[in-house]
């Protein structure tokens, strides 16, 4: 077999915010790979840097932040070297994004057709009629009934679930190679979430589109993703194949996350929870950031652990794993 270039390869990505109170490293040494047609689940607690990772890939980090290190290889090309002009051509065309809150992502004063047509015509010189035809098809593709009429509607005339479908339709318009979906179903109820998950998965299979699905919900990852990347305080603490990681977590944080999912516990048993709170990025504990909440913490954890690679190809950032491996 010939070696194909992965769709996205993030290497040691670092993104910092230079606030008045000092520099904050929101994304710290993050690496992962997404192959063609694959789904990567990016999980972690609120504030762990998932969204910032997504925006870093698209070159849309808000002021006062910017990417300060690492590489973002998209089909072999390093996006960190891209100019704003090159990025403009890439966004919405090769890489598109869906946001968390469907109520806020569509401009309230512009009709759906306007917002869809502009997304096509920003990248291709096609007639309005042709763009409209493509918009109509995309709406049909994501399961919006009578797309012809819906094109003429304003966002407020749609429900939340419908708006998120519209957002997905917009993301699909230019047949991108990669879609970054930032908690797109968090604001929706469970049945609609399941529908959207199912349809997205199907679309990606059919078109070979890769997907980075950001979420804090492990059950979503279990059903959708091929690989998973667990983030904590800006760092990846564990990454690997979804079945390996979920069935046999190696990092104590992943273990804690899985323990706190209701369906995985026996009935009647209390849910386990991770003690303590997510540390503020301004004063992370020295050494391992998870140390103060970890039941296995030892003296070794005063030193920041490096990444170790297990035999199943999994990457874990923990001294215990490192030790266990060195004893083999």
């Amino acid at each position: 077999m010939t070696q194909t270039v992965p769709t996205l390869q993030v290497e040691n990505l670092q993104t910092q915010f230079f606030t008045k109170a000092g520099a904050v490293t929101a994304v710290n040494d993050v690496s992962f790979t997404v192959n063609r047609g694959e789904v990567l689940g990016l999980v972690g607690e609120s504030g762990s840097g998932k969204s910032v990772t997504g925006f870093s890939i698209l070159g849309l980090v808000d002021q006062p932040g910017r990417v300060t290190g690492g590489k973002i290889l998209f089909k072999g090309e390093d996006l960190t070297q891209y100019t704003e002009k090159q990025y403009k051509q890439l966004r919405g065309s090769r890489i598109s994004m869906v946001f968390q809150d469907p109520m806020m992502t569509l401009n309230p004063v512009l009709r759906i057709d306007t917002q869809m047509v502009e997304a096509i015509r920003a990248h291709e010189n096609v007639s309005k009629a042709e763009a409209l035809q493509r918009a109509r098809d995309a709406l049909g593709q994501v399961g919006i009934p009578s797309p012809e009429e819906r094109l003429k509607s304003y966002p407020h005339q749609f429900s939340g679930g419908m708006r998120q479908r519209v957002a997905f339709a917009i993301a699909l318009l230019n047949k991108p190679d990669l879609i970054i979906a930032d908690e797109p179903t968090t604001a929706l109820d469970v049945t609609i979430q399941a529908q959207i998950l199912y349809e997205t998965q199907k679309l990606c299979r059919e078109t070979g589109t890769s997907l980075v699905w950001i979420t804090h919900d492990l059950t979503v990852v279990a059903g959708l993703a091929d690989t998973v990347c667990v983030m904590y305080a800006g760092k990846v603490v564990e990454s690997g194949k979804v079945d390996d990681v979920l069935d046999n977590p190696k990092h104590p944080y992943t273990e804690g996350l899985i323990g706190s999912v209701p369906s995985r516990n026996k009935r009647g048993q209390p849910l386990t929870q991770i003690p303590g709170m997510t540390p503020s990025l301004f004063n992370l504990p020295k050494g391992c950031s998870f140390r103060e909440r970890c039941q296995y913490a030892s003296d070794a954890c005063q030193q920041a652990p490096s990444i170790s690679k297990c035999e199943d190809g999994r990457l874990v950032r923990c001294h215990r794993v490192e030790e266990a491996l060195s004893h083999v």
Binding site: D101, T105, L110
Partner: protein, 324 residues
Amino acid sequence: MLAFTIRRLSQSVVVLFVMSIIVFAGVYAIGNPVDILINPEADIAEQEETIRRLGLDKPIWTQYGLFLANALQGDLGNSFVHNLPALDIIFQRLPATLELAFLAVGLAVVFGVPLGMLAGLKPDSVVGRVIMTGSILGFSLPTFWVGLMLIMLFSVNMGWLPASGRGETVDLFGIPVSFLTLDGLSHLFLPAFNLALFKMSLVIRLARSGTREVLLQDYIKFARAKGVSDARIIGVHVLKNIMIPVVTVLGLELGSVIAFAVVTETVFAWPGIGKLLIDSISHLDRPVVVAYLLLTVTMFIVINFVVDILYSILDPRVRLGGAN
């Protein structure tokens, strides 16, 4: 839409009725026109004859009743001074004021919106700060003083623009207008700018705060994630959103622009209804003052109605008629 119009109309009738009582009583309190109108050397019989002719001998209730009965037939009385129907005199002067007011509002939008957006896009830049300082000045300097300074600078010192009058007019649909002749435009510019300054400052502030707020919205980031150009994001996505407050506020302020024209028209001797009002007050010409005030109230009502309709066009979330 129909229900909305009917409800608005009936509310307006009530407002006009209440206003007519207040205005009538107010004007009555200003002073007795007899003192000014009648030649003090005329004999008693002649004086009484005039008072009777003007209807000033009757008690105020009767006077008001007569006024109301005539007003319902579209007759607001004759001017004591010119002995012509008060409404005719006002309508004759109205085009000059409307021309001035619309140009002022136009200037306020054409300059205010881009300047405000610029200040909103670059709040910390030198340009942004200069614009905001300018708008503070526009807010706080008194209109008459700015008017006098404009005359000093552009008319007296530089001699570029004339300081008073309407200049050459041409008829447009039978109404004399200045803005179609070069001479008229040169007369129009200074007073219009003077009148526009306050509103321009208002528009700058609205546009700036609107822009800053809209830029933070997810839908702007989403538009950028779609690869839409900056020009389109600013010119369509941001502009369309900030025009909602700008149009609302300016529409509501159009009435006050016409009212404020009193000062500007006096400074620039612009022959509009503002100047007419001042002249009529000093002559105690009651019918003209009453007619002016009632007309202004009507104008406010019409403007509000139009603004509501415009608003519903600009903002698709607003539907006229309230809850349904």
